[in-house]
């Protein structure tokens, strides 16, 4: 019977080609625009490490002055001071947790002809790689010893390896970061989590760093943070050593806490640390506290998706509703005009349910056509975005969910919209239409 309904639907859609095109176009516009908005929203709302999202935790400390205000929803700064970061990293060695921040270097090989390139670098510990599932092409992270004793070792990314050496296993080779030589110990696979959840400081959709160096180098070697440096205390910071000892907030801190037990343990440790710092009168606030947030909570907390995105989704779905209401009107007109034929079918033995199903199949087909065209519209819209706005390469790309969502939303929305017209036509008494036309 279904195939018969499909044949009938094709005939019907063809016979009123003008109305059909108008409805397909209306649905396609609605789907196209709402899919564009939804894709932006969906991709910015992406959880790049969903499999470990509830095991990885961003660590925050309410370490600021009693009258300090922050733009975060709970008035707790996103970043830690250097001294807190180093204090935390020395504790709980049985758990993986690490401080980090972003800096940068001019990078060149030992070849004097090589024109230096400027690259950002992540300053962190060896745990970074296993915590965030960064895979290695060659070599691996630096050793525990290197994390404790300043050593000029570096992990570089596949991209930088290609740029510097044209690819290949170059572990063991040396490169210049600024004027210092570092030994390459590992080369990672290309790793570009979007959003860049572990550091949303300079924009959540920035590229990942291509260099990784040990955090302990910060203590012997002046490394400027390329992210936000937020001060709240009225203190003079004249040089790098003073910055390390200051209350300026500039490091990020992450912990991998796979079990509830680990999470409790870490939280307990944090509250202990906070009360110790309160006793030392370093943390001034009565509500000083440590907070951990898993990846999803952290992305929500930082409002990575943004208000605009939700407003656009809301407005575009209202727009879709208008397109559907428009289609309901046209469908109703079309179906009622065809009511005499329905009367004939009823007389010839079609049940109400069969007539209803026949019309819903037609509507569903309309939705499918509209959905596919809408998908094309959305694809076109997103490529326009990509071409006209910088940094939308990732965000303005449809993943498989979005590809499937477009026709599914289109078909279900139009079928929903078609229920009323189909119901109207199947409940009309057939006898009215059977006398003379």
């Amino acid at each position: 019977m279904f195939s018969y309904y499909i044949q009938l639907a094709i005939k019907s859609l063809k016979s009123t080609i003008g109305t059909t095109l108008l409805m397909v176009l209306a649905i396609a516009c609605g789907i196209g625009i709402s899919m564009t908005a939804l894709t932006l929203n969906h991709m910015t709302g992406n959880n790049p490490i969903s499999e470990k999202s509830d095991q990885l935790f961003a660590v925050q400390l309410q370490s600021t002055g009693s009258s300090s205000t922050w733009s975060t929803t709970d008035n707790v700064p996103e970043q830690l001071t250097y001294q807190d970061a180093t204090n935390l990293m020395r504790a709980l060695p049985e758990l993986k947790h690490t401080p980090m921040y972003k800096t940068g270097f001019s990078v060149r090989t030992l070849d004097p002809e090589f024109a230096p390139v400027l690259r950002s670098s992540r300053v962190t510990t060896r745990h970074f790689f296993s915590m965030f599932d960064v895979n290695f092409l060659y070599g691996g992270p630096w050793s525990k010893t290197v994390d404790e004793n300043p050593t000029f070792q570096v992990v570089i990314s596949e991209e930088l390896n290609d740029k510097l050496f044209g690819g290949g296993d170059n572990t063991g080779k040396e490169i210049f970061l600024n004027a210092t030589t570092y030994q390459i110990v590992g080369i990672t696979e290309s790793w570009q989590p979007k959003p860049k959840f572990y550091d949303v400081n300079n924009g959540a959709f920035q590229s990942s760093e291509q260099l990784f160096i040990p955090f302990v180098l910060s203590s012997v070697y002046e490394l400027q943070s390329w992210g936000n440096n937020n001060g709240w205390k009225e203190e003079r910071v004249n040089n790098y050593q003073e910055k390390l000892a200051s209350e300026i907030l500039w490091t990020q801190y992450w912990a991998e806490l796979p079990t509830k037990k680990d999470q409790d343990k870490f939280s307990q440790f944090l509250s202990g640390y906070v009360s110790q710092q309160q006793k030392l009168a370093r943390f001034e606030r009565d509500d000083a506290k440590g907070i951990i947030r898993n990846v999803q909570q952290w992305l929500d907390y930082n409002d990575v998706v943004g208000d605009d995105s939700y407003v656009l989704v809301a407005v575009s779905f209202m727009f879709l509703v208008v397109c559907l209401v428009n289609s309901i009107g046209l469908l109703l007109a079309k179906f009622l005009r065809n009511a005499p034929h329905v009367g004939v079918r009823r007389a010839l033995g079609a049940s109400r349910g069969q007539v209803f199903a026949q019309h819903l199949v037609e509507v569903g087909m309309l939705g499918l056509l509209g959905g596919l065209l809408g998908l094309a519209f959305a694809y076109f819209g997103l490529s326009l975005l990509k071409n006209n706005f910088d940094g939308f390469d990732f965000v303005a790309s449809m993943d498989i969910t979005m590809f499937l969502a477009a026709p599914i939303i289109a078909v279900s929305a139009t079928v929903l919209a078609g229920i009323y017209p189909a119901w109207r036509v199947c409940t009309t008494l057939p006898s009215i239409y059977l006398k003379t036309q």
Binding site: K11, R346, R352, S431, T436, Q437
Partner: protein, 237 residues
């Protein structure tokens, strides 16, 4: 074949209540060819719609082929309509988007025959009305008489026991009307019961039995020759 007992049909609108059929009784035997006549507004159409299971009755009982239709669901009624009843309309009511083959196919689809059975039945029905050669044509390419023959083929394709015809020649010129009438008579001879509504007295006379509906009540000239006046008096009273 068809037994209507004490059927009442009342149309209710906000302002008026219309009694379309009142205490209507009719028995049609298998193989009969009955002509139903009556003035406009007498209840002919209502009778036809009820006989064809297109409208429900307000009260009374209607048995079709031994089965009471009172209380049946829409699905069951549709099934009965599909299996037992064939319709022929004054306006032919072919579906303009479908060609002849597809038009005749409609009731067979709802019956659930497989495609081989359907093809065979459609071809047979169209041969019967002499239009097998034009099965790919659209209704608009045919004359009125031909269209009505297609409608008859469609009505017969599912081999119903009972054919309901509503002014089948009303839109046709006399020559074509004659052809259609002959076709109906031929079908009746083959055993199909026919009830034909018409206001053409000449046409009605060709049927073996004539009944008249006046003000929603029945006057049967064949069987109750004398009773007609009595009924009419009752109606006046």
């Amino acid at each position: 074949m068809l037994v209507m007992s004490d059927i009442n049909k009342v149309y209710q609108t906000e302002l008026v209540q219309t009694h379309a059929l009142r205490d209507f009784n009719l028995t049609v035997k298998e193989g009969e060819f009955i002509a139903v006549t009556g003035p406009s507004g007498s209840g002919k159409t209502t009778f036809l719609n009820i006989a064809g299971l297109l409208e429900n009755i307000s009260s009374g009982d209607y048995q079709l082929d031994g089965q009471s239709i009172v209380g049946l669901s829409d699905k069951e009624l549709s099934r009965l309509r599909n299996e037992k009843i064939g319709f022929i309309f004054q306006g032919f009511n072919l579906i303009p988007d479908l060609n002849l083959f597809e038009n005749v196919d409609v009731p067979l689809r709802y019956r659930g025959f497989n495609s081989k059975e359907r093809k065979q039945k459609i071809e047979h029905a169209l041969e019967l009305v002499g239009l097998a050669s034009r099965m790919k044509h659209l209704p608009s390419q045919l004359s009125g008489g031909q269209q009505q023959r297609v409608a008859i083929a469609r009505a017969l394709a599912g081999e119903p026991k009972f054919l309901l015809a509503d002014e089948p020649t009303g839109n046709l010129d006399s020559l074509m009307a004659k052809q259609v009438m002959e076709l109906l008579e031929k079908i009746n001879k083959q055993g199909t019961t026919i009830v034909m509504v018409t206001h053409d007295a000449e046409l009605a006379r060709r049927a073996e039995r004539n009944i008249q509906i006046v003000d929603g009540q029945l006057c049967d000239f064949t069987m109750y020759q004398g009773g007609a006046t009595a009924n009419e008096q009752e109606a006046i009273a």
